[in-house]
Amino acid sequence: MRNPFVMQCGEFHVNYRQDMAIWKIARVRWRIFFIVLCFAAFPMLATDYIVGLATLCGIAAIGAIGLNILTGFTGQISIGVGAFLGVGGYTSAILTTKLGLSFWLAAPFAGLVTAIVGALFGIPSLRLKGLYLAIATLAAQVIILFVISRWDSVTGGTAGLVLNRPTIGSFVFMSEKSYYYLTFVILLLTTIFSLNLFRTRVGRAFIAVRDRDIAAEVIGIDLFKYKVLAFFVSSFFVGVAGALLGHYTMIVSPELYSISVSIEYLAMILVGGLGSIFGSIYGAAFITLMPVVLREVVNLLSGTFPGLEGILVGMKEVVFGLIIILFLVYEPEGLDKIWRNIKDYFRLWPFSY
């Protein structure tokens, strides 16, 4: 019997275009198509609660891809994602509620504003590297949150703002399902854009800056331009994610964008895999769903061990930390690498030699 996992056999590329495709093998393309189809069809079968969780995962994935472009691909650590999400959310909130713009204009505009703010805070990256840059982006986090919570006349101060769901004509994206599809389409576009980006000139330059900045400079990459550009693109996606999140929860307030959110996003790309687009999606789903799964487990066990709930309530942070440490020790390249290992194993299965 033919090994069902062997796909490379008899695949010949006769021109460079075929060889440079993202998915070179027809069967893999069909598989991807099928997976996308599954995700498109799944709200039909799931409850609203599950669809809502999936929506949150999707929004987080857009933000995580954004952060991964900056931290995973360009090597510039940022602890300011939380605040950048806030910039996106607030921009969209202000534009839709105070200026009456539609979501379809406000969301890209929110991305653009966040991108510009991000690029601005990215300027120190020319001089600062590694931990020092991390501290500089921490400053962005603090400054932006300070502005948001004090600029009462525009941002509503600590009370925040209330948003509406987007509409097309008379249709409102009120149901969980409709918002899921909105997120799904934007995530799809984000993923395709990022995948393309990293097989062309600008994306390659980002990776060059990460791997060897001196060599990158000598082969003709303007370090300053590309670092700021990385902040720009990354913040654009984070801003769009922020806008989506704002319109989904229908409220923006400063405590939703605290530093712990930044850390959570960093954890997503660490667990998912630095420098991997799909890793960002896996990581986003993992970190978003972890507390939910944890709660379910506690609920399940509390019947048999009544005292357990009290102890496990505070366990979320502990498990969170533990998982990150385990990933750093055992698989620093994250879920994406684990998935690739599994695929590689089956490529030679059942004779793994």
Partner: protein
């Protein structure tokens, strides 16, 4: 007039004088070697030419125009490419991507076009892929095309390093010890590649190398640095018989 002129170049780090009033000229289409004992300032010289160091004094002219104040990436656009002594490849990228990066300044695709990968961007990628394949063919790297560079052997990495510089289609190629740490066979291969580059592509080459046999065989002209000073300049025959060069390499009592 030479393609590259270095005029009264000095480079100081605090009290340390790395280069002291060095002047020389590289003629178009020649192989020009920079030699000298360890710490003589050869790599510092290349760093000044490629723009990583800012000289304290003096001037560098490329094709008659001063490049002394230009940033490194601007010099690359003019056609100066460099292969580093300590391999400075992008280890996680494949050989192909490393070479494509070498063509960075020859390409135009911007952020949006790249992300959409539509029409022009796609055509450009394919077009430059063809050019890169020529380099791969030239340096015989076909079998490792898709392998991440970090996993290659030292000798192959050195070759990719040269390939990346070559992918730029440079007018001036700076090679910093391309044969360091290689065995004889690999050295011969590399020497053959350098001669081929010189003859087929008419590229001007500045070579730093410690293997005197190679230097004497390949070079049209040689400049000798010692403690940051230019102590000799000439053809290989002239350099071999120059008493100051012998003194610098072997010590005073051997000097005739």
């Amino acid at each position: 007039m030479g393609i590259l002129q270095v005029k009264n170049l000095s480079l100081r780090f605090g009290g340390v004088v790395a280069l002291d009033n060095v002047s020389f000229e590289v003629k178009e289409g020649e192989i020009f070697s920079l030699i000298g004992p360890n710490g003589a300032g050869k790599t510092s010289m290349l760093n000044c030419i490629s723009g990583l160091y800012k000289p304290s004094d003096g001037e560098i002219l490329f094709k008659g125009a001063s490049i002394t104040r230009l940033k490194p990436h601007r010099r690359t656009v003019l056609g100066i490419a460099r292969a580093f002594q300590n391999i400075e490849l992008f280890p996680h990228l494949s050989v192909l991507d490393n070479l494509m990066l070498g063509r960075h300044v020859r390409m135009k695709t911007g952020l949006l076009a790249g992300g959409l990968y539509w029409g022009k961007a796609q055509k450009e990628e394919v077009e430059h892929r063809r050019k890169v394949e020529e380099v791969i063919d030239f340096l015989e790297l076909e079998h490792v095309r898709n392998v991440p560079v970090g996993t290659l052997s030292y000798g192959l990495q050195k070759r990719v390093e040269v390939g990346r510089a070559l992918a730029l289609e440079p007018e001036l190629l700076l090679l910093d010890e391309p044969m360091a740490g290689m065995n004889n066979e690999e050295k011969e291969d590399m020497a053959r590649y350098i001669i081929d580059i010189h003859e087929e592509k008419k590229t001007t080459i500045i070579l730093i190398e410690h293997d005197m046999g190679v230097v004497m065989d390949l070079s049209n002209h040689i400049a000798v640095l010692d403690f940051g000073k230019l102590i000799a300049y000439g053809t290989p025959q002239e350099i071999q018989t120059n008493p100051r060069v012998i003194e610098a390499y072997l010590g005073e009592e051997h000097a005739v």
